[in-house]
C-alpha cells in the first residue's frame, strides 16, 4: 500500500532500496576497479586515454587514469574522490585504494545479501582496520635511519618499478634521492621537511631518456625577453617584480578628450615617461637580472638592453616566489614609497636576490630554460627530463613526481614497510586468525577484510602473468609459519598478541619462557617481510631485497579504503529525483487513487 502511495509523494523520480541499491553500488565500484586493475604493480600495463576532443594520454598512474574517468555514478565518483585524496595526501597507492575499496565492498555486499546486518559488517571492518594499523605500526615497519641512503634509493626504485622509467631505474632513483636530500629545510618548530615542490621538473623532448639529469639550481622554462640581452650573468643581482614594465594605461571609466594635436602628443609622452621612470628606478638599484610576472614592452626593453640586463618576462608567480626564497630577495609588488618618507616612488636595493649566476640555456631546438645557480639562501634542484615525445615526458614527469613523494614521505615520516604484498599477506594471515578466535558476529567483517587484503598481491601476480593461486598460497604458508609460532606462545593461542608492543611480548616472569618467546618472535620477524618477486615468480624477503614503500602510504591506503567502503555500505536507499516536467501544483494529490 505504502509503496504505491510513495510514488505519489515525490516529484517523478526513482527509488532503489535494500539489496538492489547495494548491488548497484558494488557494481559501480568494481567498474572503476576494472579500469585500473591491469596497471597495478611493477609489471602492470599502461592505459591509453583519449579525451572527448581527441587528446591522447598514455599512463600507468592510477591517480591519473581515475581522475580522467567520466563516470557519473555516485558510488564510482566517491571512489574516484577517495583515490584523488590519497594522491593529494600521500602521492602514492592510489591504485591500491581503488582495488581494495572495490573488493571490500563486493565482499561486504555479499555478506549483507546473506542476511548479515550492514551495521555488523561495518563494525567488523572498522575493528579490523584499527587492528591492522596497529599491527603495521608495531611490527611491520622499519625505521629509515637504520638503513640510510640505500633504503631511500630502494624506496624510490620501488615506486618507479611499475612505471615506464623502470628501465632507467638506477639513474632516476639516484636523481630523485639526491634532489630530495638537497632540498631539506626546517620549519619554524625545527622539524625537518622535504618539500616536493622545491624540486622543479622540466621536460624537454628530444634525446634519449637516459640523458635526463639533475641540474644544480632552480630552473624554469623561459627565455630572455630580447635576443640582445646576455645569456649568462655572473654574480647576479635579481630584481623580482610583480608588475608591468609598460606604458602606463589609464583605468576603466576614465575618458580621454583631446582638443589639439599637441595635447595628444603630450599625453603619449607622459605615458612613456612614467614607464621609463619606473625602469630607471629599478635599474638604479644595481640589478643585473630582472624577472617579472607581467610583461615588458619594447620601450622599456631598450633601456634594459642598454643597461646589459638579462630580463625574463611572464615568469609564473609560484616560480618567482620560490626564487625569491632561494635567493634571499623579495617579490616587489609596487614601487610605492615608505610611509612617512618622501612622496616619491622608490625601489629598495635590499629586495634584490643574489645568486652566483643566472643563465639561459637551450635545451631543445626551440626551448630554453632559465637556470639560477648557486642561490644565496637555500639549495634548489631541477630535474631535466628528456625523452622522445611529450606524451612520454608527461608520463615520466608523473612517475618522477610519485617517486619524489614517496621519498619525501619516507624521509619525513621515517618509516618504511616491505612491498610486494608482504604487508597485505601478513595482515591478512593475522586478522583471519583473529577472526577465528572471535566469538561475536563481527568476525565476518574481519574475515572479509582479511580476504580482501589478499586481492592486492593476487593482482600483482596476475598482472605478472604468474599463477596467482599457487604463488599466494606459498606466500600465505610462509607467513602462517611465523604467525603460528607467535600465536603458540600466547595464552590460548590468541592472535591478539600481535597488538602488543615488542618489549611486552618479550617479557615474561621466567627465564625459560623468555627464551621461548624470543625464539617465536624471531621466527615471526623472519617471515613477516616475505612478499612476491613478480619478475621471477618467487617468494622472498622483500625487506632484504630492498622492495620498500613508505609506511604512511600503506596505512593511508587501508584507512581511505575502509572509510569509503563504510560510507557506501551505510547507504540503504537511493533516490534519484528527475527534473519536474510540469508545475507540481497541477498534479492532483489525492485524485484517482482509490
Amino acid at each position: 500500500m505504502t509503496s504505491h502511495f510513495a510514488e505519489q509523494v515525490f516529484l517523478p523520480g526513482q527509488r532503489k532500496a535494500g539489496q538492489e541499491v547495494r548491488d548497484d553500488l558494488a557494481a559501480a565500484a568494481s567498474g572503476v576497479a576494472t579500469s585500473v586493475r591491469s596497471t597495478y604493480g611493477p609489471v602492470g600495463c599502461d592505459k591509453l586515454l583519449v579525451s572527448v576532443v581527441g587528446d591522447v594520454l598514455i599512463t600507468n598512474d592510477g591517480a591519473t587514469i581515475v581522475s580522467h574517468l567520466s563516470e557519473k555514478h555516485p558510488a564510482a565518483r566517491h571512489i574516484i574522490e577517495a583515490a584523488g585524496r590519497q594522491d593529494e595526501e600521500v602521492g602514492d597507492g592510489t591504485t591500491s585504494v581503488v582495488l581494495l575499496t572495490a573488493d571490500l565492498l563486493q565482499r561486504a555486499t555479499v555478506l549483507v545479501s546473506r542476511g548479515v546486518h550492514p551495521t555488523v559488517v561495518i563494525s567488523g571492518l572498522r575493528n579490523a582496520s584499527k587492528k591492522a594499523l596497529k599491527i603495521i605500526k608495531r611490527h611491520l615497519v622499519k625505521s629509515v635511519d637504520e638503513l640510510e641512503e640505500k633504503t631511500l634509493l630502494q624506496v624510490a626504485s620501488t615506486s618507479m618499478s611499475s612505471k615506464i622509467i623502470g628501465s632507467e631505474v638506477e639513474l632516476f632513483s639516484n636523481i630523485v634521492v639526491k634532489a630530495m636530500q638537497s632540498v631539506k629545510s626546517k620549519t619554524a618548530s625545527g622539524d625537518a621537511i622535504y618539500p616536493v615542490k622545491a624540486v622543479s621538473i622540466l621536460k624537454c623532448p628530444g634525446r634519449p631518456i637516459a640523458e635526463s639529469e639533475l641540474l644544480n639550481g632552480y630552473g624554469f622554462p623561459g627565455d630572455r625577453a630580447s635576443k640582445l640581452m646576455p645569456n649568462l650573468v655572473n654574480g647576479a643581482k635579481i630584481a623580482m617584480l610583480d608588475f608591468d614594465l609598460k606604458k602606463k594605461r589609464l583605468g576603466m571609466g576614465i575618458e580621454m578628450k583631446v582638443e589639439n594635436a599637441e595635447d595628444l602628443e603630450g599625453m603619449q609622452e607622459k605615458e612613456s615617461e612614467m614607464a621609463i621612470a619606473d625602469v630607471k628606478l629599478v635599474l638604479s638599484s644595481g640589478c643585473n637580472v630582472v624577472m617579472t610576472t607581467q610583461g615588458i614592452d619594447d620601450l622599456c626593453m631598450q633601456y634594459l638592453v642598454r643597461a646589459g640586463v638579462l630580463a625574463v618576462r611572464r615568469v609564473p608567480k609560484s616560480d618567482l616566489k620560490r626564487i625569491a626564497k632561494a635567493t634571499g630577495g623579495e617579490v616587489v609588488s609596487s614601487l610605492a614609497s615608505d610611509i612617512g618618507i618622501g612622496e616619491d616612488e622608490v625601489f629598495d636595493a635590499s629586495t634584490l636576490g643574489e645568486s652566483e649566476s643566472v643563465s639561459v640555456e637551450e635545451i631543445g631546438r626551440h626551448d630554453h630554460i632559465v637556470l639560477i645557480n648557486g642561490c644565496k639562501n637555500t639549495a634548489a634542484r631541477t630535474i631535466l627530463l628528456r625523452g622522445p615525445n611529450l606524451h612520454l615526458l608527461d608520463e615520466i614527469d608523473r612517475s618522477v613526481h610519485d617517486s619524489l613523494c614517496a621519498v619525501s614521505k619516507a624521509l619525513t615520516k621515517k618509516f618504511v614497510v616491505a612491498g610486494g604484498g608482504a604487508v597485505e599477506t601478513c595482515l591478512s594471515t593475522i586478522i583471519s586468525e583473529m577472526a577465528d578466535h572471535m566469538d561475536s558476529k563481527e568476525a565476518v567483517g574481519l574475515r572479509a577484510f582479511a580476504e580482501s587484503l589478499l586481492s592486492l598481491p593476487k593482482q600483482l601476480a596476475t598482472n605478472a602473468a604468474l599463477d596467482s593461486t599457487d604463488l599466494i598460497a606459498a606466500l600465505q604458508a610462509k607467513h602462517h609459519e611465523g604467525v603460528a609460532a607467535l600465536c603458540s606462545i600466547s595464552e590460548h593461542g590468541s592472535p591478539e598478541i600481535f597488538l602488543e608492543k615488542e618489549s611486552h611480548i618479550l617479557s615474561a616472569p621466567e627465564e625459560e619462557e623468555i627464551k621461548l618467546r624470543k625464539a617465536a618472535f624471531k621466527k615471526f620477524k623472519e617471515t613477516c617481510f616475505y612478499g612476491l618477486n613478480v619478475l621471477t615468480g618467487e617468494v622472498r624477503n622483500n625487506l632484504m631485497a630492498g622492495v620498500l614503500e613508505p609506511a604512511i602510504s600503506k596505512a593511508k591506503t587501508i584507512k581511505t579504503a575502509i572509510d569509503t567502503v563504510i560510507q557506501l555500505l551505510r547507504v540503504d536507499e537511493r533516490v534519484i529525483i528527475q527534473p519536474p516536467k510540469q508545475d507540481p501544483r497541477q498534479q492532483h494529490p489525492g485524485g484517482g487513487m482509490m
Binding site: H117, M256, M274, A336, I577
Partner: protein, 540 residues
C-alpha cells in the same frame, strides 16, 4: 468511499510513506540515504532534516512532515528523524481509530489531551542535570586523555558523545564532544543563562592535518590568504568596511582627461589618496587590519599592499612587529569579530581613530594563512568562541562542522532545560507504559484514543532495534518486561544489542528532555492538523 475519507486516507498514506523513508536512518546504527537531485548533485546523509529537504516532496500532507522536521531542527536541533517517525506512527494509529468509526476531530481532541499527559510523564521521568554551575569562564580545560567521571561537565560531555555516536566522525568523539561542551559553556552569559546563541560560535574549516588537531581558539580565527609567518603581540585590531584602492566612478559618469598634466595629476592623486589612508591607519597605531570583502572593488590594491609591505620590512629590520593585513572578511562575520575583539567597524577613514580599535594579547598568521587572534580584551564580555576545524579533505570538514553543530544543539537544549531522559528508546517505552496505565482509568472514546496514542511511541525502540540488526519484537518485549519490574530507564544499547539501564555509570546514554518533549509536542500538533483536513482544493 466518501470524498472526505478518501482525502484523509491519502494524506495519512503520504505521510507514512515519508516516515518509511527516513526510519532506517534513526539511531546510532541508522543507515544513510543517497539522494541524487535533479541537477545531478548527490548527497549521502543520515540526518533526517537534510534527507527530507533533498527529497523535494510534492504531496501537501507529506510536505507538512518535512516542515515538521525543520521545526524540530529549529526548536531543538536534534531528533529530526524521531519526530517524523513519531508523527508517522501516530497517523497509523489514528487511521485505526478512524476505521473503528471514531470521528477524526474526536481523535484529534483526544490526542491533544493525551499530549498534555505525555508531557507530564516525560517530566516525571526526567532527571536534573548539572549545567555549567560555579566555575569561571576562563578555567583552562584539558582536552587530552580519557574522559573520566570526575571531569567537569562529565554528564554533558557524555550527552554530546551520544549525539556524535551516529556520525561519520565518531572515532573522534572524545575530542569533539569536549569541544562542543566547552564552546557552548563559553557562550553562556551567566546573567542570561537560558539564552544561548550558536551564532556566537564561529567554526573555521582549514584543510590539512588530522581531525584530532581540531581545537578551540580563545578569541578569533580567520582563514586568510597564505602568506609569510607573522606574529604581533599586543595587537591593536582595526576593522574597516571601506576599501584601500582607488575610488571608482559611478556607472554613468566618467573622468575626463585632456592634457598630459592631468594624467600626472590623476596618478599622483591616486597615489596620495592610498597613501593618506595607509598613513592614517598606521598613525592610529593599528597593527592588525581586517578589511571587509567588497564585490565592486578590490579590498586592498597592490599599491597599498606595497606601502604596508615596505613598512613591515622596515619595522622588522628595526626589530619591531609590523602590521598584519587580512582582507576578504565576509559581511556576516563583522558582528562576531567586533564583539569578540571589542573593535568598532569603521566605514570611512576619517572615523578611523585609536578608540575604535580592539585589543588582544597576540595575533599570529601561520604560513597557511590561518590567522589567530588570542587573548582579546573587549570592553564588555563577548561570550564568543572560535573553533578551528582540521581534517584531510573538504567533505570531512563539512561533516565535522555539521556534527559539532548538532552536538552543540544538544548542549544548548540542556542549558535551556536542564533535565535529561534515558536514551536508547527507554523514555519512549516508559511513556507508552505509563500512558497505557492512564488509559485504564478512562472511559469512552478517550480510552481508545489514549491507548492508541500510547502505542504509537513504541515505534522508536522498535526502529532502533531493527536498525541495530536485532530481532525487533523480541527486544521490545524484553525492554517492556524490565520496565514493568521498575527498571524504567532500561533501553537498547545499540553497539552490543543488550538491554541495559541507560543511566548506568559506564554507559550513560541520555538525551535532553527538550528534544523528546518538543518532538512529542510538534508531532502531535502536526498529526492533529493532518487529521482535521477533510478536503484538498486546488487553487489557481
Amino acid at each position: 468511499m466518501s470524498q472526505q475519507k478518501e482525502v484523509r486516507k491519502s494524506n495519512i498514506a503520504a505521510a507514512t510513506a515519508i516516515q518509511d523513508i527516513v526510519r532506517t536512518s534513526l539511531g546510532p546504527r541508522g543507515m544513510d540515504k543517497m539522494v541524487t537531485s535533479h541537477d545531478g548533485r548527490t548527497t549521502i546523509t543520515n540526518d533526517g532534516a537534510t534527507i527530507m529537504k533533498e527529497l523535494q516532496v510534492a504531496h501537501p500532507a507529506a510536505r507538512m512532515l518535512v516542515e515538521l522536521s525543520q521545526a524540530q531542527d529549529i526548536e531543538a536541533g536534534d531528533g529530526t528523524t524521531s519526530v517524523v517517525v513519531m508523527a508517522g506512527s501516530l497517523l497509523k494509529q489514528s487511521e485505526k481509530l478512524i476505521d473503528l468509526g471514531i470521528h477524526p476531530s474526536k481523535v484529534s481532541d483526544a490526542f491533544q489531551h493525551a499530549e498534555a499527559e505525555a508531557q507530564k510523564v516525560l517530566l516525571g521521568m526526567s532527571k536534573p542535570i548539572p549545567v555549567f554551575s560555579g566555575e569561571s569562564i576562563h578555567t583552562p580545560v584539558d582536552f587530552s586523555g580519557e574522559i573520566v567521571d570526575t571531569a567537569p561537565h562529565f554528564e554533558l560531555i557524555r550527552a554530546a558523545a551520544t549525539s556524535l555516536s551516529s556520525k561519520v566522525v565518531h572515532p573522534y568523539s572524545d575530542l569533539l564532544s569536549r569541544i562542543s561542551v566547552e564552546t557552548v559553556r563559553r557562550c553562556v552569559d551567566p546573567a542570561k543563562r537560558d539564552f544561548v546563541d550558536l551564532n556566537f560560535i564561529k567554526m573555521v574549516k582549514r584543510k590539512g592535518d588530522s581531525v584530532d588537531k581540531t581545537e578551540i581558539v580563545d578569541g578569533l580565527v580567520l582563514s586568510g590568504k597564505p602568506g609569510d609567518e607573522c606574529r604581533i603581540s599586543n595587537a591593536k585590531i582595526g576593522l574597516i568596511r571601506f576599501c584601500i584602492s582607488p575610488p571608482k566612478t559611478d556607472m554613468d559618469s566618467s573622468v575626463v582627461v585632456s592634457t598630459a598634466a592631468d594624467i600626472d595629476r590623476m596618478v599622483r592623486e591616486e597615489y596620495a589618496y592610498i597613501r593618506k589612508i595607509c598613513t592614517a591607519i598606521i598613525k592610529a597605531k593599528c597593527n592588525v587590519l581586517l578589511i571587509q570583502k567588497s564585490i565592486t572593488r578590490t579590498a586592498i590594491d597592490n599599491q597599498a599592499l606595497g606601502f604596508f609591505k615596505k613598512y613591515n620590512s622596515k619595522r622588522v629590520k628595526a626589530g619591531k612587529p609590523g602590521i598584519l593585513v587580512v582582507s576578504d572578511i565576509e559581511r556576516n562575520e563583522i558582528e562576531f569579530i567586533s564583539r569578540t575583539c571589542g573593535c568598532t567597524p569603521v566605514a570611512t577613514i576619517e572615523e578611523f581613530t585609536s578608540e575604535k580599535l580592539g585589543s588582544a594579547d597576540l595575533a599570529v598568521r601561520a604560513k597557511s594563512g590561518t590567522v589567530r587572534i588570542t587573548g582579546c580584551r573587549p570592553t564588555t564580555p563577548a561570550f564568543t568562541t572560535s573553533v578551528l576545524i582540521r581534517g584531510p579533505h573538504a567533505d570531512l570538514l563539512d561533516e565535522i562542522e555539521r556534527s559539532l553543530h548538532d552536538a552543540m544543539c544538544v548542549i544548548r537544549c540542556f542549558v535551556k532545560m536542564p533535565f535529561m531522559l534515558p536514551g536508547g528508546g527507554a523514555a519512549e517505552v516508559e511513556l507508552t507504559r505509563q500512558l497505557q496505565k492512564k488509559s485504564l482509568d478512562m472511559t469512552g472514546i478517550e480510552r481508545y484514543a489514549m491507548r492508541a496514542y500510547a502505542d504509537a511511541f513504541e515505534v522508536i525502540p522498535l526502529t532502533l532495534a531493527e536498525n541495530a540488526g536485532l530481532n525487533a519484537m523480541a527486544t521490545l518485549a524484553k525492554i517492556r518486561s524490565v520496565h514493568k519490574e521498575g527498571g524504567n530507564s532500561a533501553g537498547i544499547e545499540a553497539k552490543t544489542g543488550e538491554i541495559r539501564d541507560m543511566f548506568d555509570e559506564d554507559l550513560r546514554v541520555f538525551q535532553p528532555l527538550l528534544v523528546t518533549s518538543s518532538a512529542v509536542k510538534l508531532a502531535t500538533e502536526t498529526v492533529r492538523t493532518i487529521l482535521k483536513i477533510s478536503d484538498i482544493v486546488l487553487a489557481k
